[in-house]
Symmetry: C2
Subunit: 840 residues, 2 copies
Amino acid sequence: MAPEATTESITAFGVARSTVKGAPLSEEELRKTDAYMRASLYLCLGMLYLRQNPLLREPLRVEHLKARLLGHWGSDAGQLFTYIHFNRLIKKYDLDAIFVSGPGHGAPAVLSQAYLEGTYSEVYPDITEDVQGLQRFFKQFSFPGGIGSHATPETPGSLHEGGELGYSISHAFGSVFDHPNLITVCMVGDGEAETGPLATSWHSTKFLNPITDGAVIPVLHLNGYKINNPTVLARISHKELENLFLGYGWTPYFVEGSDLPSMHQAMAATLEHCVLEIRKYQQQARSTGKPFRPRWPMIVLRSPKGWTAPRQVDGHYLEGFWRAHQIPLADVATNPEHLKLLENWMKDYKPEQVFDKNGKLIPELAELPPKGNRRMSANPITNGGLVRKPLHLPDFRKYAISVKDGSAGAEDGPSMNNMAVWLRDVIAANMDNFRLFGPDETESNKLGEVYKAGKKVWMGDYFDEDEDGGNLAFAGRVMEILSEHTVEGWLEGYVLSGRHGVLNSYEPFIHIIDSMVNQHCKWIEKCLEVEWRSKVSSLNILLTATVWRQDHNGFTHQDPGFLDVVANKSPDVVRIYLPPDGNCLLSVMDHCLKSVNYVNVIVADKQNHLQFLDMDDAIAHCTKGLGIWEWASNDNDLEPDVIMASCGDVSTAEALAATALLREFLPAVKVRFVNVVDLFKLIAHEDHPHGLTDKEYTAIFTDDKPIIFNFHSYPWLVHRLTYKRPGSQNMHVRGYKEKGNIDTPLELAIRNQTDRFSLAMDAIDRMPSLHNKGSGTRERLLNMQIKAKTEAFENGIDPEAIRNWRWPYARQTGGGVTGAVSGLFSGGSGSGQKEFATSE
Amino acid sequence: MAPEATTESITAFGVARSTVKGAPLSEEELRKTDAYMRASLYLCLGMLYLRQNPLLREPLRVEHLKARLLGHWGSDAGQLFTYIHFNRLIKKYDLDAIFVSGPGHGAPAVLSQAYLEGTYSEVYPDITEDVQGLQRFFKQFSFPGGIGSHATPETPGSLHEGGELGYSISHAFGSVFDHPNLITVCMVGDGEAETGPLATSWHSTKFLNPITDGAVIPVLHLNGYKINNPTVLARISHKELENLFLGYGWTPYFVEGSDLPSMHQAMAATLEHCVLEIRKYQQQARSTGKPFRPRWPMIVLRSPKGWTAPRQVDGHYLEGFWRAHQIPLADVATNPEHLKLLENWMKDYKPEQVFDKNGKLIPELAELPPKGNRRMSANPITNGGLVRKPLHLPDFRKYAISVKDGSAGAEDGPSMNNMAVWLRDVIAANMDNFRLFGPDETESNKLGEVYKAGKKVWMGDYFDEDEDGGNLAFAGRVMEILSEHTVEGWLEGYVLSGRHGVLNSYEPFIHIIDSMVNQHCKWIEKCLEVEWRSKVSSLNILLTATVWRQDHNGFTHQDPGFLDVVANKSPDVVRIYLPPDGNCLLSVMDHCLKSVNYVNVIVADKQNHLQFLDMDDAIAHCTKGLGIWEWASNDNDLEPDVIMASCGDVSTAEALAATALLREFLPAVKVRFVNVVDLFKLIAHEDHPHGLTDKEYTAIFTDDKPIIFNFHSYPWLVHRLTYKRPGSQNMHVRGYKEKGNIDTPLELAIRNQTDRFSLAMDAIDRMPSLHNKGSGTRERLLNMQIKAKTEAFENGIDPEAIRNWRWPYARQTGGGVTGAVSGLFSGGSGSGQKEFATSE
């Protein structure tokens, strides 16, 4: 027995019920609006069903239908209803506006508008405004070689695809930050509203400044149903729903019903009220210079799912039920009655009244939408590359960390703190089109210097304590909320609408937004195929607090696998950099901020680490993307016995320490040291534009020598990138392997065999030419490793000789070794030794 | 100039302000509660700072401190305050309760309770209840070889680690589903509350049945600050906050302040009120048999961050500010004044009053908490394996899809629909400890049959339409909300508290919970090292609506990369299965539901596909994990010329079709066909318990023949798994490579070169022995490919010969080929042919 319907249930049917009263539309306007909506709805159904006979000038026959009926009807009517009503206000108030279509598979709604506004024919000249064009327009929808059922990059006016749900509000806010005159109308599906990312993104108002930023009008579309379930928000009481949005800090206005004439008046009045409220708040803040947090207006639009479809078919509910989600009448090709039903339904929209004999929208309706760039389908902000201005970048070379000739690896340096100084000046030089984003980690990530150029935006309440280093401001340049989804969504929206930014995050938790980054990669990859799309800034993700330095955070904070996710994406749009030191970090960041249409991932730990390259060398190294470090090698460019390679800052220091051990203990062994900054240099040239040719690759790695590769991330990624390479069987990779706990850095490395001792032993094991010559050394290394680990375990901190290890060879001396180091190393061959490296 | 403090700001300081009035504690109870809290707080500070001198019986000196001070103080006081007050109610009402610690790094709070309750010493006998034990207890915290600063698996009473934030509420709800007498007290950090997953998980009440399920008491801890920022919820008005939770469907009770005596009374009264309300609602529903959705009670606890620390140090705010987040006085080792300050602060808790001369908690305080399994630190539900009962599984062999001898690949079959029948009966046989979870996709994923055993839980309002196939019920077995985070969190909580479940999801959107699955893998991996932990059911993830059948969803829905994320986790806890057909799917599912302590990922498309193996063969094949399909091979167990291999259902059908083409066009070529079900069979034996030995591997794949491997996912994963294998240079893998759009299945495959024609051409290209013999065939295959694609492009649907392709060889005949197929294949060698395969 099914539970009883709840008495307080609110139906989506009937005459409009609305918070805002009034009937602003004249009879004439009402008639035209209704006709325009009918034209729109007709187009939606045409896209879903028709391959021929686009205006039904012949009786509808099966051969006019597409062979496969694919697409979604459910949210189309509510979305285009909102869109059309906002058009009136754009014209009346000369608004700069765009439309974000959140509900899944709602593309017919916005495609119909782009077509009716003429934009579609402008960007796709073969889709003309006539019968033939209409036919092509219909056929291409959800059709092989055509366009999708989301608001994909092919959709004029779209900067939000809506394939994966949850990001419409954060994208919308991203688009209006620093666009003070923009209003983004953001349609939110009530299915989408159940996702976590969407549920927290309502709090974005706490970060929106009414002086410097534009405004978002969310329209929560209480369509009532998802694929096969009712939605949560459509099945709670009116009071709960109202409280929820009041609690989120909005002023909700309700528009509910299905009766078209009254719904038109209610929506027209409500949207206009919202626009006027927005203008009032902005005016108040801008005229006084005093920003505040308005309780911004938003709309709850309750209309039936599949609105304007038949209410019932064959005794089953269609309109106002989940059956209207996708193709309403899926069996039209085999059910003549349903085919007739479809024909009658489409004809009810009276296409002959709204399209002229050539198939073009009649002039009185063509006059309704705004013109030119005021059309939401043609607003250049949605094609962000058009409005993008390159950044003013201070010369990063002036921010170099001093690394004197011959002193590579001689000193620790604050790579991240130092880069933050440059980043501060990037911010200062680009105060209206660059922001730094992060989930409450900017300070922890040693980037706090940026606050001197721009504080953290905070529109919430202020307490007295905030004066004590709070670094909060109504107008700032750093965006922080503890939601990776929200900051990533803001950044995506900001970049897609023509600006620049960087997201900084702890490495382990970037997996939270794997799927968002995947979707963004797909978006920009597809944009490359859309000729009228102009390239946007790259989305830059700076990963720090890396796996190797999670001293007390432990196992949960150890996951360097984001690189695997990114490496799966199209080589046309992804780049991964692991700068080994501070000057390389600067060079890489500068490069990334200049680039377009990529997702750049930069991995650099936030702690101080050894510095290796002066600025000129760093630039050369990063430009090459990888290279032999001659100062660390003793093969004199001749044939090495072993290649010690590294990628990542901590990994590089350990690989160098291993190299020093080998050179100290086995001076006859010729070691070549290779460092990789640009990970995709490793992959075959034909698989990624950055990939080396095999000739270039073997010139560095040889095709027959053992390679001990210490990698920042999971080791398999390097194998995956190099499996095609000559000599790939010699590639021996160490990296993180899910072995961790509460460890000192050395202990963690030992668990994963990425420590200096393990690496040196690996090298010995892989050099058959050593025969038994290496065995004594191997034992000695093992003893040193055990001793170091025991000490760390007892004291809770790595031995000083490990913590403060320095590269012991002067840069110029090549094979030489300083006396102190040599003395310490050779001081004992086992139990007697007290120290096994120097901190000098 | 900093913005002004807002007038309506609410401070966390002062005498308690609370919704519920009353002072239920006697003076005696108040005194004891206060003392117990002091003992707890003392332990927290001890864990953060001390390595020696645990009870400060000597003056505090630097050498008593840990070398590195790691840990967090911020949320400890508020959490243990809540915990202690709930203890009183457990005793008073004999409650079955557990505690979920949501705020990050709050472990000292719960560790202190486990120690004071004696549980800690029970599970770790070396951590005794005396001075020495206390010293070890302190030292091990955030110390190498010790325990972490989250409520890790080593923490008695924890089933929620809180390393990555956002899942406390969904875990808590998972723990109380089907545990009607359980109350889970769930502490939610106000930082955590900003995450998307947490923000939507408040809606979990719409899925909680007051008759069959227990209750959750969320305590939102308005601690005020994150690492370096205020929290959003602590900086909105009281009215907004109240509205928000009313809107979420809860009844919020506020407890706000810092004055301990009044806060004790307020919390005692409020928690008791909540318990009584819960009992009242449950009683009402259970006595009438009529479930409803209560507006369940929850608590907003506003207390200062770092509560009971000094308010200011050196003129900077500490208590009640973000500086109290981590180690409050980080420089005690070098700043004697701060060392003294720490000593005085710790002594203010009067350890000498609460611990006896042996270092044990004094008897009158030891009597305060509940005893035995009523202790939240010892509740067996938090060690789910203890209460887990194996499922009653119907014999899956009885649900076999009929595949007659000799008819492998002769018919399509409903693999997923069929498995759903078995799953229905699994549900029916386990009505109180098995649930199916999914984000609104169960019906779409062809699993709707399960509703016959258990409908979808829905505590929201009901409409009349719901009778028309809504499949909703107050008491059901299927859990659906459009939040992958929430359903995954529920499932994790459900499994960790001793029950069983399956999550079904579209493959592309499972990336949304990459990080959750990572964290769960880490949890169960670590549990293996904790001796007193009993193994819980595996977490089963069924991925369907796979990459190869996203006909109209397009590029955004194409991502098979979840397997890469899972494959990075510890081989001790992850398993990946790609059953090629319906009987294998049954066998795999049965295996997974019997297993413990894994994350099992099963990939199977929801559409009908070819069936290959009868049940006996399927069981044998799945048991081996991979194998040669002799019926598809013509190498007669001798030396093959090429190995055609596959993994995944769609991939297998294409690889078989390629095999058929090769056998048809090049009958002299000896083809061996290999199918892989258990992905980790490919990896080296030493790297995963399922991995084949090299000998086993080469017996199947050879070490010198070309392997054309058609893989479901990104191709590099196979390279990554097999790079160590003999003959790895011969492994040629095809898979998804981010090339997609709106495609028919064949078109998508052709883009990614995973179609039959590409695979057959690959094989020809890789067999040097063919010399030029294959060139004509290659050209012919290419022509066939182009023709098929052109037809698909024009009609929007694949040619029937592709859609309805069947394996053309009778099972027993080996090298033979049926006449009809042969005729069609040989009918033309290029432009003249009309068909190139048969649907017979």
